[in-house]
């Protein structure tokens, strides 16, 4: 706590200051949790996109091979 006062002497951590700090911490945590959940979802979408790309490439390779066989 003394370190906190040393780096931020204007921080009002008196009787009601802890309530102010608590309210702002709740807000930041809420936003962080939300952004974290959305980041996990974005990762899932990224994985699905990579999977789709692999599948499409596999289909394309198969079609190319079939075409070559037909020509041969």
């Amino acid at each position: 706590m003394s370190f906190l006062f040393a780096v931020a002497p204007a921080l009002p951590l008196g009787k009601s200051g802890k309530f102010v700090a608590g309210a702002y911490i709740v807000f930041v945590v809420l936003i962080l949790v939300y952004v974290g959940i959305m980041a996990i979802r974005s990762q899932r979408t990224e994985r699905e996109l990579a999977e789709l790309q692999r599948d499409v490439e596999a289909v394309r390779t198969r079609e190319d091979e079939r075409e070559r066989e037909t020509v041969a």
């Binding site: 309530f19 102010v20 309210a23 702002y24 709740v26 807000f27 809420l30 959305m38």
Partner: protein, 204 residues
């Protein structure tokens, strides 16, 4: 302690406006039948719920610091906000209970509009009530907020609104991208390539 005001009030205002924004977007769905309006409405209400929970928790902390109680049941503003929040908290279970996507979107839109209309009505009813405990610093006639505090509050409100819009857009983009990936997979690889999404509250 007053500093909580710059967080709690913008959170509550943006949350209530978000519910009404969701209702307006739901009208868009009922008018056009386009699913993207349903998605917009869903995300707007979802975001407003998150902001509302934030407003409720910070309000509760403020109440504890000011009045010595986490919650005061005879305070109309607090209870009316809780009622609105609980009303919209049923939005997700309502969606989840309907399997057919078309019906889900239609019923959810009707609910969003009716509940959205309730928000300003509720607000007016509380304002008209006689017994006030909640500090009235914001009124149409100017209120009792000093100039410097008013400026700080307006900046906080603007910041909160921008945060709401940014997160709304962020979630919309994420959901739209996911839907487009699924659609692309279906188009390129056929219906069998799609894993069934299962029952979900979100528009699919």
């Amino acid at each position: 302690m007053q500093k909580i005001f710059y967080l709690h009030v913008p959170l509550a205002i943006v949350s209530l406006c978000g519910f009404m924004f969701g209702a307006l977007l739901a009208i868009g769905y009922l008018r056009t039948g386009d699913r993207k309006w349903d998605m917009r409405s869903y995300v707007a209400i979802h975001m407003a719920l998150i902001f509302g929970i934030g407003g409720l928790i910070t309000g509760s902390i403020w109440a504890k610091a000011s009045w010595g109680h986490w919650w005061v049941w005879n305070e109309p503003t607090l209870v009316s906000f809780l009622i609105v929040l609980l009303l919209f908290a049923t939005y997700q279970p309502l969606r989840f209970s309907i399997e057919d996507p078309e019906r889900q979107a239609r019923y959810a839109s009707v609910f969003a509009i009716v509940a959205g209309v309730f928000v300003p009505l509720n607000f007016i009813a509380v304002r008209l009530a006689q017994q006030f405990v909640h500090p009235r610093v914001l009124t149409l006639g100017g209120g009792s907020l000093p100039g410097s505090m008013r400026l700080t509050f307006l900046i906080a409100l603007l910041g909160m609104t921008l945060l709401y819009v940014t997160l709304w857009k962020y979630e919309m983009t994420t959901k739209n991208t996911r839907m487009q990936v699924r659609r692309l997979r279906r188009t390129l690889l056929g219906e069998d390539a799609i894993r069934p999404a299962g029952r979900t509250a979100a528009p699919s």
